[in-house]
Amino acid sequence: MAYHPRENWKPTLSKRVYTRRDFIQRAALLGIAVPVLPSLLAACAERDAEDGVALAIGTPASPTQQPLFEDNPAIESGLPPEEGPLLLYNWEDYINPEIIPLASEALGVEIQETTFINEESALAALSSGEAQYDVWFPTSQRVPVAVAAQLIQPLNHDYLPNLGANIWPQLADPYYDKGSRYTVPYVTYTTGIGWRIDLADSADIEGQANPWDVFWNPKYAGQAGMLDSFTDVIALALFRNGVKDPSVATEAELEAAGDALVELADSIRYNIDVAYDGLPNGRYAVAHAWSGDLVNSQYFWPDGVDQGTTRYLWPAKAEGSAVNGPISSDTMAVLKGSERPVLAHMFLDYMLGADNALKNFEWVGYQPPQNDLTPEYLIGDEWVAEHLAPALVVPEDFELGTAWVQGPLDAETEALWSDQWTRATAGG
């Protein structure tokens, strides 16, 4: 898996507006300040001064409804399905390959999947109009921008009976898209700490007031891995330093987080496959991990190594923990440019079916927010090993005061975070 579907970037409305003075300065910097036609320069400078669009960004504390646009209506009810093939645009390795032929049979059309490696490239491809697909799998953080850019179309719930019937009420009417106007939930996950009880001492993590601090424990120098995803890493360092909401971290807090990461220059390792590679192969005793990866890691264990040795802890819900932790969810949406919107709705509803969601979970490891797929059921029916129970999400997790949903980071803030990451990776 190259990049796991887990990008916490939610773009917002910061903008770099060109003023006339800026333009002249830059022109001078480039050595092209021709002392003629100042009026032309002024005219040119106006070109980029377009306004940012307000995004509707919701959090569990203050949910938001996404706006509707007149030129982007939902489809009518009762339309017949179109001809195939249905085109999916998805993360790599983010749908059970066995589901595709099954869904294809159920819908009576061919289904083709195209994958993207990160959400930025997906957004770029979709917004340039070069990519023509029917169904897309955006993270919940991307929903506001996808709506504002009119990349996705409103849903007609008449085609989606499974949404109300099967999905956790918290996500059937989610904070990021009240009323599920544009999206239906796909999977949900937390970001926490995975470890091997044979290589690490559980007492260093469990029952600790600050479980995140385990990465700074010298005992695990050289044996600790973090996700090679800088937003997650900076957020981790902020949490470890006691910051409650990384989205609004001050520059001083970011600097302190950077300092904390610089301390780890010789002892930490960044890798995206912590749960599929580092933990199973014993290269990491402790790892920063997504819950879904850890659930799925059972399929990546080498022969002869006891799978029962893994544990997962989400600091936002751990006993004795006083620090926060991230939670998130991904969604499914119908693209505005879809030529097969009815089929696309039918596919969404198919994926919301409990059996199909379970079938998908079996391979993906990321948990669908289905009413029937409770932790008790998933563990009792041996879909998830009992010792990994903390890796399962329950609906109430979203409502915990300690659960952190990534807030918006504009380009300027992202630059600050990125600077700290560069410091951390420069090794001091």
Partner: protein, 310 residues
């Protein structure tokens, strides 16, 4: 003189139409324009561009009148005195050491195969090349397995030398990354050097001996200078990709203390939403630096060619 050459303007000295030879260069030119100049301009346009107010993605600025060099300034400031400079120096050090090791290890190998291996040289060449029929990534993955804590290397260390607590090879040891680079690129150093050594006329060596030079002197004063371009060529061929390498440090270490410039570029372009321009600017700075090496090599080759003509 055949009459068709007399007209001059239309035909050149070997009787071809004038456009024939330049015409043959056309596919190459088209290739270069489409796959080098256009992408290069695109990278430049991204580095000099703005950020889309809605998507927060860098948007390329195709019109030079709107180019904004602030990001370039930031990158240069970072390289000279900032954190990026640390990474750049580290990258240069790794590449220099890895190239030196390639030289020390590769030269004797190339020398042996070209001059001493006799009728078995084909076998030696195949043996050198055989591992490289396997994809670079696969070979690095194999090293990850060999070097992991319970991997084969540590098992051997234990059985052969009784070392029970070997170092964690993959925990960010610079030497492991450097040796990874050496392992990955050394055949591309050996091959051009082999070709250069192979071209040396035995008669020149015999002449050196006839004139009283010993083995060592023949090597220092004849073989080595004659193979200089092979060495330079080999070094250029391995150093250029090494400077952009990011998967070797990723796989063999992953530690922040061994990150190279390639990792940093990858980080800006693939991990951030809005900082792609920084990655693009860094790419261009790296390209200019690497182009400097290339020019040095081309000049050396040219000079050698001129000397040979004299």
């Amino acid at each position: 003189m055949p009459t068709n050459l007399a007209s001059g303007a239309e035909y050149d000295t070997v009787g071809q139409k004038r456009w024939v030879w330049p015409g043959l260069a056309l596919p190459g030119i088209v290739w270069l324009v489409l796959l080098f100049l256009v992408p290069f301009y695109a990278i430049f346009a991204v580095a000099m561009g703005q950020i889309d107010p809605l998507l927060q993605r860098p948007t390329p600025e195709w019109n030079p009148f709107y180019w904004d060099p602030t990001v370039f300034g930031e990158v240069l400031a970072g390289l000279f005195g900032g954190q990026l400079g640390v990474i750049a120096l580290r990258t240069i050090a790794y590449v220099a050491i890895a190239s030196l090791i390639c030289l020390i290890v590769g030269y004797p190998v190339a020398y042996f195969v070209s001059r001493k291996a006799g009728k078995w040289r084909w076998l030696w060449l195949i043996l050198i090349l055989a591992p490289f029929w396997i994809n670079y990534l696969m070979r690095m993955m194999a090293w990850v397995n060999l070097l992991s804590p319970d991997g084969q290397v540590n098992r051997w260390l234990e059985t052969l030398f009784g070392i029970t607590s070997p170092p964690n090879w993959l925990a960010g040891i610079p030497l492991v990354v450097i040796l990874g680079l050496v392992y990955g690129y050394i055949p591309f150093f050996i091959l051009p050097l082999f070709a250069a050594l192979d071209r040396i006329d035995d008669a020149t060596l015999e002449a050196a001996r006839d004139l009283g030079a010993g083995n060592a002197q023949t090597f220092w004063r004849v073989t080595l200078p004659l193979s200089k371009n092979g060495v330079l060529g080999g070094l250029v061929i391995i150093m250029l990709p090494m400077f952009g390498d990011y998967y070797t440090p990723n796989l063999l270490s992953g530690a922040p203390s061994t990150r190279m410039l390639g990792n940093t570029i990858d980080q800006f372009i693939n991990q951030t939403t809005s900082q792609g321009a920084v990655g693009a600017a860094l790419t261009i700075v790296l390209m200019i630096f690497v182009a400097g090496l290339m020019f040095y090599y081309l000049r050396a080759i040219n000079r050698a060619a001129e000397e040979a003509r004299r």
